[in-house]
């Protein structure tokens, strides 16, 4: 296809430029913009006869209307794919950032991908052991799942993500981590990358970095570039891939900014009405496909503005993802790491990936019992705060004691502590042993005999 080039732009504002007199532009195609000797990338977002609106990933700073050259490439934004990408660092659009030269490959793909046919999916049910008790026992991560971390500013979500990635052992197959930094601070990126150094994981990491100081619009492309590479490793090369994307909040902010420039009618809090669909085109790229060996598991991280779980970003995310791990500022203040809020967290896929043949036979009942007991703890605590602890019944006092130990011994663990699922479940029984046996209504008599006696 002939490449067309135009000089001169009619209008430029925010990250957008408008061209007139363009023939044969294609919707969504990639354009190269040259100004002041520097190249930028953009894509066509609206065509109206010969009028074309282009969104520039690097923004329009220092662009002049007459001297800007625009080349239409006739293809969408693509990323080159090669097995040699392992261990490399790229920018938010997939260009090398580590000085090791271009990726050499003839395999190129549109970063937007195509929707996975629901008929071709395999329902995920293989347990990933993260070595973190709260997650393994109560919010089990399943291979092919998308399980976000809902965090807040200043909470240790980066530590948790790193710990999950480092400790995640799968029973078979090699494990690749794809890390997409979306508008992250330099220090966060340094922490995450350095945490993998010296571990076996470092050569199996592919990073795509859009830092806080990098162009905002580029953030729209970063997760898509990362996921295109992740899909290639998972479904073409057969690896089990874990994608860590941080911070989705920055992504949504970029989306809002762009929508605003485009003059679109906003929905809640100024975010565009299509944000749900847009986020879905990212999150739904997780999964397992019939006849393919690998899997794509997503661990997106988002910081809830003002710790508000009903804010559109966590809200729409929660509607798409298969559960959520919510971090609690309260636990964090009390020095408990990982500060996972047990009652508002959830893993939708765990029901089919735990129990006999997957983890351990008592796992579903133990998890259910822990939830029930811990939710009772909250009631007792609020009652105790009014009438005083002395006034509580003996059973309620036992619940208080259980709650305290559960948080201090079960939830709390060290950044480098890696517990096996057996250790985790035994520890869970130890916690339950603080309660009178009659209260354990969600576990069976046989299980009490088999496991409770062991830990007592």
């Amino acid at each position: 296809m002939a490449v067309k080039e135009y000089t001169g732009v009619k209008k430029a504002f925010g990250p957008l430029i408008v061209l007139e007199g363009v023939k044969g532009a294609a919707y969504d195609e990639l354009v190269e913009i040259e100004a002041n000797g520097k190249k930028r990338l953009g894509k066509v977002i609206t065509i109206d006869k010969d009028l074309v609106i282009i969104q520039i990933f690097e923004g329009t700073a220092q662009l002049s209307l007459p001297n800007t050259k625009v080349r239409f490439t006739g293809k969408p934004l693509e990323v080159k794919l090669s097995p040699d990408m392992l261990g490399r660092v790229f920018d938010g659009l997939g260009r090398p950032r580590d000085g090791l030269g271009e990726v050499v490959s003839s395999e190129k793909r549109d970063i937007n991908g195509l929707p996975i046919n629901p008929y071709s999916r395999v329902y995920p049910r293989n347990f990933i052991q993260t070595g973190i008790s709260t997650i393994d026992a109560l919010f089990t991560l399943i291979r092919g799942q998308k399980l976000p971390i809902f965090s807040g500013n200043g909470l240790p979500h980066n530590e948790l993500a790193v710990q999950i990635a480092r400790q995640s052992t799968i029973k078979e197959g090699e494990f690749v981590v794809v890390f997409a930094a979306i508008g992250l601070k330099n220090s966060d990126v340094r922490f995450i990358l350095s945490s993998f150094e010296g571990t076996g994981a470092s050569k199996n990491i592919i990073s795509f970095l859009n830092l806080a100081s990098d162009p905002v619009v580029e953030r729209i492309a970063t997760p898509r570039v990362a996921l295109t590479v992740a899909e290639y490793f998972a479904f073409d090369l057969g690896y089990h891939v874990l994608v860590i994307m941080s911070d989705i909040t920055n992504y949504c902010e970029a989306l809002r900014e762009l929508s605003n420039y485009r003059g679109e009618i906003p929905s809640r809090k100024g975010y565009p009405g299509y944000m749900y669909s847009d986020l879905a085109t990212i999150y739904e790229r997780a999964g397992i496909i019939e006849g393919k060996e690998g899997s794509l598991t997503q661990l997106p991280i988002l910081t809830m503005p003002n710790d508000d779980i009903t804010h559109p970003i966590p809200d729409l995310t929660g509607y798409i993802t298969e559960g959520q791990i919510v971090l609690s500022r309260d636990l964090h203040m009390r020095g408990i790491y990982p500060p996972i809020n047990v009652l508002s967290s959830l893993s939708r896929l765990m029901k089919d990936g735990i129990g006999e043949g997957y983890t351990r036979e008592d796992h579903p009942n133990v998890a259910s019992q822990l939830f029930a007991a811990y939710s009772r703890v909250q009631e007792v605590r609020s009652l105790a705060s009014i009438i005083g602890e002395e006034e509580l019944t003996d059973v309620d006092k036992a619940y208080l004691r259980f709650g305290e130990s559960f948080e201090r011994e079960f939830i709390k663990q060290d950044f480098s502590e890696d517990r096996s699922i057996e250790q985790t479940l035994d520890l869970a029984w130890k916690m339950l042993s603080y309660l009178p046996e009659e209260e354990l209504t969600r576990v069976s008599k046989e299980q009490i005999d088999k496991y409770l006696k062991k830990v007592k």
Binding site: D28, Y119, R121, I265, P266, S267, H311, I320, Q324, I386
Partner: protein, 581 residues
Amino acid sequence: MEAKVVKINGPVVVAEGGNFVINEMVRVGNLKLIGEVIGLDDDFATIQVYEETSGMKVGEPVEGTGNLLSVVLGPGMIGSIYDGIQRPLKFVEKLSGGPFIQKGIETFPLNTHKRWKVEFLLEAGDTVNEGQIYAQVKEGAIVHKLMVPCGVNNKKIVERIDKSELTVKDYVYILEDGTKLGMYQTWPVRIPRPVKKRLPESVPLITGQRVIDTFFPIAKGGTAAIPGGFGTGKTMLQHQLAKWADADIIVYIGCGERGNEMTEVLTEFPKLQDPRTGKPLMERTILIANTSNMPVSAREASIYTGITIAEYFRDMGYNVAIMADSTSRWAEALRELSGRLEEIPAEEGYPAYLASRIAQFYERAGYAETLSGKRGSVTVIGAVSPPGGDFSEPVTTHTKRFVRCFWALDRELAYSRHYPAINWNTSYSGFIQDLRAWYGENVDEKFPEYRDKAMSILEEDGKLQSIINIMGEDVLPDSQKLVVRIAKMIKVGILQQNAYSAVDSYCPLKKQFLMLKTVMDFYEKAKEFVEKKVAMSVILKEDIVSKIMRMKEEAKTEEDIMEVYRLVQDHFKSVEEKYRE
């Protein structure tokens, strides 16, 4: 003059030239993407395209098809999974050459190779009228009836095909005017299929879920909404209803939801048995999957595709239930398209016609006498996903206006793992009076009365809980403590139901009644003894209470519950004896 694309804005495309009608199905661009004309202005047609328009250019052709956006209705739909515009995803996989859905795929919705053994019901010389059943084939768990299309009246059959095993492309009869009655018919999705007359809804759709059947029942032909924030169990409940509702056909629409949820249905349903027919559940299920990452305009269409298929089976005289998960995603698709059309928004960016569209959809539900004189129904159960779990948002409030059952899911209940997390204080059913007679005649004449009593206990408990939260349970007099304890029995022992339990996942109506009776009669007796100042610990004897709480799981037969019931009676007898002493 050939129409050409002049403007592209995501899924909305404007074409110049051509001679289209509103709602006409068109083929857009070189890839022949499927689209629908939604606006005409002079020489320009605004088209909503059901696939991604990336790569499309100005000047590409737009072809009219002369047909309205329609579905194909005939044998072979049951057990299938379709996208929002009825493309079978199984064939889409083949034609895409892999698991990723390619653009511009065209495929016939029914399997054209399969041979169906046809039972002919008419002969040459017979006269046919619209809606009349002329032949039938066995499909899955039902008999698929072939009906004379609308508009064909008073015509004589002149010929019958001379084969008994037909494919869907074959004709069955030829009429005097040359019209062929085939194996399938088409119907435009946005137009409701006609019935002879609407009938009142007076038979319940039995779901096996206690909180629904006992407390907030829905009638066959009724409408219900399930609103709930994320993680409150909407999809879980929809799956439970799709599994156990006593409908002949289930149409499950995954509208803008997760891909894995559809996969779950596809993997699980063929293995599960319909408790009434003993056949795999998949043999009565049709799936429409337009997941959240599939094109947004096809999501808008998926709801209509689903309900049109449901109406078709209703017309054969079947009871059909539709699960739409989630109608909020459909409303959002409307909003997105409305925004692209630069319409003036009403509340929260939604178009002003949101309410009327919701009304049109739910009004297609109903219990009816069909054109052929049979009785059939379409029950619509729509999930609603209110942003931030806030029920005052436009989709929830408008939906509330047009449905008769409201099963409100509650985040607090879900957090404490009380499932199904239907809040008994904010939910309601408009069918309670209509169904009273049925419950009285078919289950037990005391059922409605017990239900009302249980509801009033729950209501009183709601008030007492606010006192307990401040001062603890000890300040209450025994009579009120008893209400709190009985309410707990109802909540844990009856309302909570474990979807993963083999015993408890489906609870037969009779068992529901006996469980309720056990608890309520316990209450009546206990009340007497509380009045006589017997100690609470004696009345609420630990092992008896525990038996009642566990009977949902441990009492497998009606006889087992009667056994619990007798234990309760014995318990009170011994209390009485002790008290006399």
